[in-house]
């Protein structure tokens, strides 16, 4: 059995939140001076202003062994990032204790400490030092970092002149050459294009392959499935499941399914739900043609989206957009817009619609849903968005109408568009001689 890398015992973290939501996290001296007599008076009477205590984490315990790759998943606000901030010592726990055995590298964002005015060279040293590397360590790996980032020519140019791709590559290169025994990663994959995200995933697989410990926080279930052998599910700051990834993800998706989307769901969470409230989705259900609600489908099956809504203000018509995001890069891979009506509707109007996606030839994987409803002529405020608030659509291979050209061993791309060969088969046999000679040359060159 490997030795312990991280031991977390009963970690809790609370934040004090002032009752009034308008209160800022910091106060001005003036505010405090003005409030002073009242505060003192109340304190004298033993009635100090009640602050609401919000527990971001409650009694979290687990152990990670050396060489393990552990995923942490949960919805926004479940406490994932707080946990990571505690383990990387950015913030302190309110209670509990964590022992860490080994050098920690925390990647909470790409390009920590980069300054646009500084050159690539200067930023490598700055960012490296901030991430915990010694100067000579950075100097030793300098060339490697530069060539990994492919920015050799621009190394003495201020990074503000870099393209965003170069900037991200350089930033990631520094982080990738940090050689910690324990790597803490937070949603780094949420930035950059999909090629870059693949590179990140690949690098993390390398790190894991070298027997180092990786602690990967994400709500990208597909990436977690790909990387992690074990997965911890957090919900409202508590550990709900700590088990092999498949088990935990099954629980996670089940819990998502059990949660009914209505007009209020996720309303305080701008990452998942946006809009002014002038119009709201009141119900979302994904169904098969038999009308049974489910999120798992096979390739080529027909999917029904049943959406219900309500207007809180009068509007000129209603239009909806249904889009699928990629489970890995979170880019939108397809979208469909339907104008439900162009009639003038009064406040309080309700309605529902079913949109059919016939023969979904989409490759197996997880596809978070993006649902948008707005006035028929979209305005800046009259809309409602459910972004990855429902369970993701899960497509499995092997439906009855699976595209015959689909090769499950090569999961490339997003769509599986039907294709067929129309030219005559033309295989010329003239390569027989040259193939022999090239085969003969190979051992000779060894």
């Amino acid at each position: 059995m490997n030795e312990t890398a991280i031991r977390v015992e009963g970690i809790s973290k609370s934040y004090q939140i002032a009752r009034a939501l308008s209160r800022q996290p910091y106060r001005t001296l003036q505010e405090e001076v003005v409030a002073l007599p009242r505060t003192l008076w109340k304190r004298a009477l033993g009635r100090s202003e009640p602050l609401e205590t919000f527990w971001a984490l409650t009694d979290v315990s687990f152990e990670v062994r050396e060489g393990e790759v552990v995923g942490i998943i949960g919805r926004n606000g479940a406490g994932k990032s707080t946990l990571l901030k505690i383990l990387s010592r950015i913030t302190e726990p309110t209670r509990g204790r964590a022992d860490i055995y080994g050098r920690v590298g925390a990647l909470l964002e790409v390009g920590t400490g980069f300054h646009p005015e500084l050159t690539g060279r200067e930023n490598i040293f700055l960012s490296g030092a901030i991430l915990g590397m010694r100067r000579n360590e950075i100097a030793r790996r300098f060339d490697e970092i530069v060539s990994f980032a492919e920015v050799e020519q621009f190394i003495d140019t201020p990074t503000k002149r870099y393209s965003s791709g170069m900037y991200t590559r350089l930033a990631f290169a520094v982080a990738a050459h940090l050689e910690p025994e324990i790597l803490l990663v937070d949603e780094v994959l949420a930035v950059g294009d999909s090629a870059f995200q693949k590179k990140c995933l690949g690098k993390m697989e390398d790190v894991a392959g070298q027997g180092r410990t990786v602690f990967f926080v994400s709500h990208n279930t597909q990436a977690v499935r790909q990387l992690c052998g074990r997965c911890i599910l957090l919900e409202h700051g508590r550990v709900i499941s700590d088990a092999p990834t498949d088990e935990t993800l099954a629980i996670y998706n089940q819990r998502l399914r059990d949660m009914r989307v209505d007009a209020e769901t996720g309303i305080n969470n701008p990452e998942n739900r946006r809009g002014s409230g002038a119009i709201r989705f009141t119900g979302v259900s994904v169904e098969g043609t038999d009308g049974e609600e489910r999120y798992g489908f096979r390739m080529g099956e027909t999917i029904h989206f049943r959406l219900a809504w309500q207007l809180n203000e009068s509007m000129r018509g209603v239009a909806i957009v249904i889009a699928l995001r990629s489970g890995i890069s979170r880019e939108m891979v397809t979208s469909a817009r339907h104008v439900v009506t162009t009639d003038h509707l009064p406040a309080g109007a309700r309605g529902s619609v079913v949109v059919e996606f016939p023969d979904v030839y989409i490759r197996p994987g997880e596809y978070p849903l993006y649902l948008h409803i707005s006035e028929a002529v979209p305005t800046k405020t009259n809309y409602d968005v459910l972004d990855d608030l429902t369970p993701p659509l899960v497509i499995a291979p092997g439906g009855r109408r699976t595209n015959p050209n689909f090769d499950p061993s090569q999961p490339l791309g997003v769509f599986s568009i039907p294709s067929r060969m129309i030219a005559e088969q033309t295989v010329e046999q003239l390569s027989a001689v040259s193939a022999d000679s090239s085969r003969a040359r190979v051992p000779a060159s060894e």
Binding site: E3, R7, G10, Y15, P25, Y26, R27, T28, L29, Q30, E32, K85, I86, L87, S88, R89, I90, T91, E92, P93, T94, R95, G96, R97, A98, D99, I100, Y101, G102, R103, V104, A106, L108, E109, T112, G113, H115, E117, L118, E122, F125, L126, A129, I130, L131, G132, M133, R134, R135, P158
Partner: protein, 304 residues
């Protein structure tokens, strides 16, 4: 309130030892200690110098970044380091030397005021940069761990470069005016150290307070201005009545400014008693500031 008590480190060690002994193969390493123990700190934690030492490269790189950034995309570049004190000294010479005819202890007024301006600019620069350091780099604080002390401390070092250049300019001015330094010049580093200690101490308070009360961003320019006129930058301590001198000396800036004049120009009304008082006060401010900083440091990431 039911709060978890901090674990007893001794009990913890014993536990680890017995666990190791129970293992059959018994590795040659005796006890495997955690590299880092994360738990809530309570009360007044002392300055963790060991941790700071581990991050000394970062401290120097941050200081270097400050210097580089200040003169990026400027037409005059580092010439500004020379220009700033020189222009200030010229203005003061005209205003206070020629028009107001303030005494300068018998030195050419420009030398007298330049020595004061050089030291004062250093002090003020540290206060200003360090005071805002945690706010300007708030992103860093919420995204990565390092001893937070490195940020205000980096300002102490980055401003030193400007001071050294200024002192070089002072040397040139002295040559022009034919003033030769004496053996007292050897005491100069001690007064620079006193200035650094005082500036760091005050900026520990300012930077930490700034995270909680943004008022300090606005109050700082006034604080620095008032403090300057309460210090012998443009005038000599001799214009302060003798019976007030000791109280006046409670301002540590008096000691390092007059001390610098004493070391460089030779004469001054500085007494050893004033230096002792100033050093003591600086130490108190510094140690108090360090404890205060450590006390509020744990909440930085949550409130910045």
């Amino acid at each position: 309130m039911a709060r978890g008590r901090p674990r007893d480190p001794v009990a913890k060690t014993i536990l680890t030892v017995s666990a190791t002994a129970a293992r059959p193969e018994g590795s040659p390493q005796t006890v495997r200690r955690p590299t880092v123990v994360i738990q809530p700190t309570r009360g007044w934690a002392a300055l963790d110098l060991g941790e700071l030492w581990k991050y000394r490269d970062l401290l120097m790189i941050l200081a270097g970044r400050d210097v580089k950034l200040r003169y990026k995309q400027t037409g005059l570049g580092v010439t500004w380091v020379v220009m700033q004190p020189l222009i200030a000294a010229l203005i003061f010479t005209v205003m206070f030397g020629r028009f107001a005819k303030l005494p300068s202890d018998g030195h050419p007024y420009i030398l007298f005021v330049f020595a004061g301006v050089a030291m004062w600019n250093y002090f003020a620069a540290v206060l200003q940069r360090a005071g805002n350091s945690l706010i300007t780099d708030a992103r860093l604080i919420t995204k990565v761990y390092f001893p937070r002390l490195a940020m205000p401390l980096a300002s102490t070092f980055s401003a030193l470069i400007d001071l050294v250049v200024s002192l070089g300019v002072l040397g040139v001015l002295m040559m022009i005016y034919g003033v030769a330094p004496t053996w007292r010049l050897l005491a100069l580093p001690a007064f620079i150290a006193l200035a650094a200690l005082t500036a760091t101490g005050v900026s520990l308070w300012l930077s930490a307070l700034n995270v909680r009360y943004r008022d300090f961003v606005h109050a700082m320019p006034f604080l620095i201005q008032v403090w300057m006129f309460a210090s012998p930058v443009v005038y000599a301590t001799t214009i302060v009545p003798a019976r007030w001198r000791l109280i006046y000396g409670f301002n540590p800036a008096v000691a390092f400014i007059e001390g610098t004049r004493w070391a460089v120009l030779g004469t001054s009304s500085l007494t050893s008693r004033m230096v002792a008082v100033a050093t003591a006060i600086s130490l108190v401010v510094f140690i108090g500031g360090a404890f205060f900083f450590r006390r509020v440091e744990r909440g930085f990431a949550d409130s910045v």
